[in-house]
Subunit: 104 residues, 2 copies
DNA sequence: TATATTTAGTTACATAAAGTAACTTAGTTA
DNA sequence: TAACTAAGTTACTTTATGTAACTAAATATA
């Protein structure tokens, strides 16, 4: 086990991004702040995992949780600057998929 | 379950790329064709999963397996054009990680 | 000839992560 | 009071990953 010459920051980025659902959650939030239930419906993730991922992403500083004490209370998740900085990356994946993946 | 308005090609790309290890394997192969054992040592993946991932990536047309009938036989894995087309994305991840992740 | 080596890959089993569904909490409406 | 909704959590099943031992083929060594 020679163990990677690979840059630890790159490795960490890959670890975050290659966790199931995080990519889709971030992609979804690129279109603006959204509630738990909206994200859930749009990407088809379970409530359990969505809560887990949002908590992780919040800890990484990629997502921010906002509580609006209305009635009923509204909780929204939004990308931070760090999160929005992933937009070009998402655009890249989009482009690659258009160019190299089959229509169906 | 409203189930995604998300483009199926984008979703497929995310599925491929967010599988554990695939990002690191592709990144590693960007520096040129490599043997199974080289990849294994450089990213610290187990033999079982590396074989599985390389087989999947070959099926996706991202990686090509080359057998050189020397003595002993040499087997190398290389990115296809489709695979090399992921280079900008990897560069993007690298940039993001440099800009937004802590040094340690 | 028998033994050990190397590389690629597989098999078998233990552990960790993800999927599913029911439940809790808090506040709202019928 | 009863039913509803949104955000989370808990308990349990299924799938993916990690680990280590094993096979196969060809080579080198004793």
């Amino acid at each position: 086990m020679n163990q990677s010459e690979i840059c630890p920051r790159f490795e960490k980025a890959i670890t975050i991004l290659s966790q199931r659902w995080t990519g889709l959650i971030i992609y979804q939030l690129l279109s603006g702040p959204q509630r738990n239930c909206t994200i859930k419906e749009s990407i088809g993730i379970s409530g359990r995992l969505l809560s887990e991922r949002l908590k992780d992403l919040e800890e990484e500083g990629i997502v921010k949780r906002h509580v609006y004490p209305e009635t009923p209370v509204r909780i929204e998740y939004a990308l931070t600057d760090k999160g929005y900085a992933l937009e070009p990356l998402m655009k890249n994946i989009e482009d690659w998929s258009q160019n190299w993946l089959e229509k169906e």
